[in-house]
Amino acid sequence: MSTPTAPAKKTNRLGFDILPYRGGKTTLCAGCGHNAVTERLVEACWELGVEPWRVAKISGIGCSSKTPAYFLGQSHGFNSVHGRAPAVATGALLANHELRCVLISGDGDTASIGLGQYMHTLRRNPAMLYLIENNGVYGLTKGQFSATSDLGAKSKGGAVNAFTPIDCCLAAIEYGATFVARSFSGDKKQLAALLRAALSHDGLAVVDVISPCVAFNDHEGSTKSYSYMKDHEEPLHEIDFIPFFNDIEVEIEEGATREVSLHDGSRILLHKLEHDYDPSSRLNAVTRLHQASDGDEVLTGLLYLDRSRPSFTRTLNMVDRPLATLPESVTRPSREALERINEEYR
């Protein structure tokens, strides 16, 4: 083993090393999928050169929802209440549409208690990364089935789930999210690329990450365990992400790559496998998801992308300056205006 020489610190386009992108030390179980997702998120934000002060990290309640404390330690974070992070995030964006909002949720937080807010947030398409760390159970309350548990999946105690699962990606595609992806916490490369793409999207980017719970759902009979995912993950494509500020030439393999671009000029390259899969087709996406689940496969990759729908705050036609910063001279109408109204009611 050679002794490492202190290498020059790597910095991103803002000149930051990775430190400001890290957070507090995780208190989750060793081996928890959520920890891997946090690491990918740290890397993605650093690589993209996201300004930490511009980020609002918002979560509900659960092991997954604790993770905003473990990344971007300089950013504002809000561990809110169970299932209601979408409303809090939406409110924050109303106050300041320039915030980059990262919402972290769990499968219980989103698909069980929070399903109503989730659905309505899909309809509105606010610009944020909506990350679901999906382990099929309630980790923090010790292993009860959540609404994404598959029919027939076994709990650690041996109970068999008798109810059909809610597929957050199907819902997202159906009801209005404009970027929908599924990944696996163990699939480092794919997850990293998808997170960078999602963070660059101007609209609601839902990323549902199968993120095994080693404490309560990593056994034989679970459909969200590491070993199950190893055997059943079905990636749609290999994926590369090239940020807008990076103009390097990439080699595109003729006939085996599909390129899609995002609003900010970033590019997503989808290679090989099903490179003919067209992520702009809603019908295609839904069909493919159903086919996969019928065949006991977990389809991963960029499932759906719609670049045409404006984000929520754009549809509200607000002034450019964030509402939170408007001065009294703008937000309080004049004396004359009040006098006119008094007159109207005389």
């Binding site: 400001p20 300004e51 930490p52 002060w53 511009r54 980020v55 609002a56 918002i58 905003p68 404390a69 971007l72 300089q74 950013s75 504002h76 974070g77 809000f78 561990n79 809110s80 209440v81 209601r84 979408p86 409303a87 809090v88 995030a89 939406t90 409110g91 924050a92 964006l93 109303l94 106050a95 300041n96 320039e98 915030l99 109503g116 807010q117 659905m119 309505h120 705050t313 509200l316 036609n317 607000m318 002034v319 450019d320 964030p322 509402l323 939170a324 910063t325 408007l326 009294e328 703008v330 937000t331 309080r332 109408p333 004396r335 205006a337 009040l338 109204i341 008094n342 009611y345 005389r346």
Partner: protein
């Protein structure tokens, strides 16, 4: 049989069916009396449906300025066949009844004055188009009443023009013909046989007629509210709708036409409250309006707002209980709930507006209070105040500048070298905060409900949490000094005091006069304008042997709140007067109950 005329002191009760378009006729009648310079109030007592069920509208004229509901009815206008008999049987002797001729009510009693009016025949004359007759039929009774009461017909005309506005000239003209038909029928066929009379006064100079919800909406707009989230619920929907209208007119950027606000109709009250918190956390002046059922859904977020210390204004237009049945009836149903709503030791400041002026000023002040103290603030209206039309003094431009509270900027952080989110730097319990999006590497902090030390670091240490809870108590003490003082009327020598909040004031003030004039009992009164209670309440209680606390609910919620907060020694002299029938409280109910408990009637 002409008794001495009763001038400017009576109530009119109009009985119709919901959806029959009587609202316009009633408003014009009320406005005509208002324009005669006579203090007046109007209350719509309506069912929870869109069409068909019985509705009553009461108009009270009072030269003394009593504008609470009057229990006794002096003139009944009976238009609803379904309730006509019952309505007539319930009248006190001597009352007058205008009724639709085919109802043949005159035979029911011989101690009333009856005026039969052939509405169908008259409306056919005014309105050749059968389809439109339903719309103007009710306007005939406005003409009849104007004639019988001696209201200047020019004032009716003016009121009608005001009601219809410039754009609906044709409709106004047809309705005017209906008024005239009613007036001339009455003058030719109905000899005056009752004593009620309107005579010109000059009590309403400069005043407006407006409902509390519209006034509160205006207050929010002039407070510089930037985010409104809501979910429709009677009786608060019209507040949000009025606000949307005003925002559209007053809050567009003059150059770009873009909005300086955001309105979201949320999927439910949970989401509405969550958006208020998110927006307040990120620096907007955010608010929502709702009613009791919505408060129930918001309660987890209200607790989070208290502990995470996030400003937000929550306007509660109170009504009767959950589910359906009486959602269109008024109640002070959430006095206690709103003061303590959520779990884990929570206290919230409340404003108790009693009239449109206060709806305007308190809704406006609530934003400053919320941002200064970084906490959810309630404005408690009720259905009576929110949805009925009231006389009001013109609104005064807010004196105080918009106060965004202790928010640190990039420059502040640069100067200070950082900050601790929950540290009581100034000793008033209120710590400094930063907004997300503040460009500084020391700006960020992590927000949770519970479990944080003064640097906003995660902590489950008992001492840290106790220190935090004690600081929150200090903050609530500071709020005590920042809310409006009660309105006190001291009668030297009075042994009996009366206390109320919100719309109970009308019944209270009139009841105090009744007790003095009819029974010789002098009383002092105190009207609370806000919660937490202040020392003046203690002093008031100490200064009297017995203090009656008025509640428009069964469980004496205001009294219960006093029991929670006041020195137990003070509680010995407290007594309760309650009304919970769903109608606006009337003075007679209050004076009768006080007299009964005093043993003087």
């Amino acid at each position: 049989m002409h008794a001495t005329p009763v001038v400017n002191d009576f109530s009119i009760h109009v009985a119709t069916a919901n959806g029959s378009g009587s609202q316009t006729a009633n408003s014009v009648l009320m406005r005509s009396i208002f324009q005669m310079g006579v203090p007046v109030s109007g209350k719509n007592l309506f069912p929870s449906n869109i069409a068909g069920l019985p509705t009553w509208f009461t108009i009270r004229a009072s030269r003394k300025g009593y504008i609470g509901r009057k229990k006794e009815i002096d003139l009944l206008i009976a238009m609803n066949p379904e309730t006509a008999r019952e309505d007539v049987m319930a009248l006190d002797a001597g009352a007058a009844v205008v009724y639709d001729e085919p109802l043949a009510l005159a035979g029911l009693r011989d101690d009333l004055v009856f005026y039969a009016v052939p509405f169908d025949k008259l409306v056919t004359g005014v309105c050749p188009e059968p389809k439109l007759r339903k719309l103007v039929r009710n306007m005939i009774y406005t003409g009849v009443a104007a004639q019988l009461l001696g209201i200047d017909i020019d004032e009716v005309r003016k009121a009608l023009v005001k009601q219809f506005g410039e754009r609906k000239k044709k409709a106004a003209e047809m309705n005017w013909q209906a008024v005239l038909a009613g007036q001339s029928y009455a003058s030719e066929n109905l000899p005056k046989a009752d004593p009620l009379k309107v005579e010109r006064m000059d009590a309403n100079h400069g005043r407006l007629i407006i409902d509390g919800n519209t006034a509160a909406a205006l207050g929010c707009v002039f407070a510089g509210a930037t985010v409104l989230t809501w979910y429709p619920i009677t009786p608060s929907s019209s507040l949000a709708e009025a606000m949307i209208d005003f925002l559209g007119r007053l809050r567009q950027d003059p150059e770009t036409g873009k909005a300086t606000y955001a309105v979201v109709q949320a999927e439910d009250e949970l989401a509405a409250a969550g958006m208020v918190l998110g927006a307040g956390w990120a620096g907007a002046r955010a608010m929502t309006c709702t009613s009791g059922p919505g408060i129930s859904l918001m309660s987890e977020f209200l607790g989070l707002g208290y502990f995470a210390e996030i400003p937000g204004v929550f306007i509660d237009v109170q009504r009767v209980g959950p589910s359906t049945g009486l959602p269109t009836r008024t109640m002070q149903g959430d006095t206690l709930t709103n003061a303590i709503v959520s779990h884990g030791d929570t206290r919230h400041p409340l404003y108790f507006p009693s009239n449109p002026e206060e709806c305007f000023s308190m809704a406006s002040e609530a934003f400053n209070l919320a941002e200064k103290f970084q906490t959810p603030v309630f404005v408690n209206l009720d259905l009576d105040l929110g949805m009925n039309n009231w006389m009001s003094d013109p609104f005064e431009y807010p004196e105080l500048p918009v106060d965004r509270g202790k928010v640190l900027s990039t420059e502040d952080l640069e100067r200070l070298g950082g900050f601790s989110r929950y540290q009581d730097v100034d000793g008033d319990g209120v710590a400094y905060r930063t907004l997300p999006g503040t460009p500084h590497d020391k700006a960020g902090y992590f927000t949770r409900g519970t479990g944080h030390d003064e640097h906003a670091r995660y902590s489950e240490k008992a001492d840290d949490w106790i220190a935090n809870m004690d600081r929150l108590s200090r903050k609530f003490e500071s709020i005590r000094g920042a809310i409006p003082a009660p309105e006190v009327r001291f009668h030297p020598g009075a042994r009996v005091g009366v206390v109320c909040c919100g719309t109970s004031r009308y019944a209270m003030e009139e009841a105090c006069d009744q007790l003095r004039e009819e029974l010789g009992l002098e009383t002092s009164s105190l009207r609370l304008k806000a919660y937490p209670f202040t020392a003046s309440l203690d002093e008031f209680i100490k200064a009297h042997d017995r203090v009656y606390v008025i509640d428009q609910n069964r469980d004496a919620q205001l009294l219960a709140l006093m029991k929670l907060d006041l020195d137990p020694v003070l509680l010995l002299s407290l007594r309760s007067v309650r009304y919970y029938g769903g109608l606006p409280l009337d003075a007679r109910t209050v004076s009768d109950e006080i007299a009964r408990q005093e043993g003087i009637r």
